[in-house]
């Protein structure tokens, strides 16, 4: 039986996100999708969904949601003190929800973005092949916007019986942690030559702090100025997720899920894909220390990450 979720309180910004909208970047359409793609995928696997299924992305201050039917959910990503009918909920674990129960969130403990994965996924119409909300173009997700009070979100059909899906969890050591200071690995380039040796050294040795001017599009960082040789501008070129742009002011910006497809600032390096979910969880004030790795090292880590997800997929099948 299909069900729905009623939004009693929307929270700071709650959107529907899957793994993103691919195939249209050449036309200028951003990918969007979950900021923390790892937490989204694990959440989906815990409730028996396909890894790319859409879930709710919750930012800092969570929503209050009433389930209009029995279901199974899992909350992954940031620890935002979730409760069901007032009782604390274990994150990274799937649980049965009875019709009428209310999910609520409290003070954030660790991380910035939590994901509520629901067995059967969220039954919104895909736009250009994706259920992700891209706010700037008001497209995808639930009417192209964050959830509002009174919204009624349709949920899909679970792949298995609810009893089969509840009580799955990720072992404690596998659960990602979100410390307030961390090393972020980057592959340098493509414009590393646009910086002085001193500038490159600054980037790789100094600490950069996440500022409040950070959103789904990009994270503005603050720290010692990264020096260019000459110009900070390039002929507009494509950017990748995690690209670290450095405009003329020498303060880096990490491009995130809602990034534009092209940019005109020098890119000093790109955050490797396994470290990007952690960046997505970095609240303002978090301190980042960049470290250069080779593309081969980064890819070996990406392959490892994919293996882990495959194992979880098989274990839950």
């Amino acid at each position: 039986m299909k069900g729905s979720i009623e939004v009693l309180k929307p929270g700071l910004m709650t959107t529907v996100q899957d793994l993103g909208r691919f195939g249209y970047q050449g036309y200028g359409m951003p990918v969007a999708g979950a900021m923390d793609s790892l937490a989204l995928q694990i959440g989906n696997l815990l409730v028996g969904n396909a890894r790319h299924e859409a879930a709710l992305e919750i930012t800092m201050a969570g929503p209050r949601l009433r389930f209009q039917s029995d279901t199974v959910i899992a909350i992954t990503g940031a620890h935002l003190n979730p409760t069901v009918d007032g009782n604390p909920v274990t994150c990274w674990k799937s649980m049965r929800i009875q019709q009428g129960q209310v999910l609520d969130f409290g003070q954030p403990v660790e991380g910035l973005r939590a994901y509520v994965a629901i067995a059967g996924g969220i039954a919104v119409q895909p736009v250009m092949g994706s259920k992700s909300t891209y706010l700037k173009a008001r497209v995808g997700g639930f009417h192209g916007r964050p959830l509002k009070r009174g919204d009624c979100l349709p949920i899909g059909t679970p792949r298995r019986s609810l009893d089969d899906l509840s009580g799955r969890w990720l072992s404690r050591e596998e659960c990602p942690r979100y410390p307030r200071q961390k090393k972020v690995r980057v592959v340098l380039g493509p414009q590393e030559d646009a910086f002085t040796e001193e500038g490159l050294r600054t980037f790789l040795t100094e600490v950069y702090e996440v500022t409040p001017q950070s959103d789904r599009m990009g994270y503005r960082l603050r720290g010692p100025k990264i020096q260019h040789r000459e110009s900070a501008d390039i002929i507009s070129d494509a950017v990748a997720p995690g690209a670290v742009q450095v405009p003329a002011d020498g303060q880096p910006i990490i491009l995130m899920a809602d990034r534009q497809t092209v940019g005109g600032y020098t890119v000093i390096g790109t955050v490797i894909s396994v470290d990007l979910p952690w960046v997505a969880q970095a609240a303002p004030g978090t301190r980042l220390l960049f470290e250069a790795v080779s593309v081969d090292q980064a890819q070996a880590l990406a392959v490892e990450r994919e293996k882990l997800l495959r194992q979880l997929e098989l274990a839950g099948a």
Binding site: Y27, V187, D237, A238, Q299
Partner: protein
């Protein structure tokens, strides 16, 4: 064709084919895109053509950086059909000036021209779509006459209606969505460049040409009506390459 490969992190490969904004560099970008289209390299998700490069997005667990570079190098060996000697031109009806183009006056004044002359020069010949970006469906057009160039507004407008035709420096373009912006607005087209519910959500693509056709208020309203009831057919024509480049 010589390529310069660079990684953009672990999931994107930048293939540089030139170092300036130029129709001949653009031609190489088009050829490379066609080769990628035909090659269907496993693990490749999509690619983004830009002024001087094509950036390929891929899954590192399906194909490694070095292997992908090798694949692309081998693309050169494949025979490629000659660059098309004809080009596709998409015509966009535009109403110039008035409330639709409040900055037409300042563009004329800055260049010591009459408004009619600005309109004539702006709508004279087709513009090459070098690439898409900025917002969904926004074409980066090349080839505008420097005679009608105009600096950006000192104070950007908080809201620019979708369909606005503008000038910034020697660039011209059309806003596909309502966004803030600092371009000088000279007119408006009723033809949507971006419509997520359309079968082809984005009207234009890199490699096409865009020609602005001036219309009067009656013509503008007629097109608006057709767009609204779904009967509007985009006007397309085919031109010889020499014609548009001269």
């Amino acid at each position: 064709m010589s390529f310069n490969f660079q990684p953009l992190g672990d999931s994107a490969l930048r293939i540089q084919v030139g170092d300036r904004i130029d129709p001949s560099v653009h031609q190489r970008v088009r050829v490379l895109c066609r080769q990628l289209e035909n090659a269907k390299i496993p693990g490749v998700v999509e690619w983004i053509p830009t002024y001087c490069a094509v950036t390929v997005m891929y899954h590192p667990h399906q194909i490694g950086y070095q292997t992908l570079c090798r694949y692309v190098k081998e693309l050169r060996e494949e025979p490629v059909e000659d660059a098309a000697s004809t080009v596709e031109v998409i015509h966009l009806p535009v109403i110039y000036g008035g409330d639709w183009g409040p900055d037409l006056i300042s563009v004329a004044e800055l260049n010591g021209l009459s408004m009619e002359e600005v309109i004539r020069i702006h709508s004279e010949k087709p513009y090459l779509v070098y690439m898409m970006g900025f917002v969904p469906g926004f074409p980066y057009l090349g080839g505008m006459s420097p005679k009608i160039a105009a600096s950006r507004l000192a104070e950007p407008r908080p809201r620019i209606p979708a369909g606005s035709v503008g000038i910034a420096g020697i660039q011209t373009g059309v806003y596909p969505l309502e966004t803030p912006g600092g371009w000088r607005l000279i007119g408006h087209t009723p033809v949507p460049l971006y419509d997520p519910d359309r079968e082809r959500p984005i009207l234009l693509e890199a490699g096409q040409y865009v020609k602005f056709d001036p219309v009067d208020e009656e013509g503008y309203r007629f097109v608006c009506e057709q767009v609204k009831n779904g009967s509007y057919q985009t006007k397309k024509s085919v031109c010889l390459q020499e014609e548009v480049e001269s």
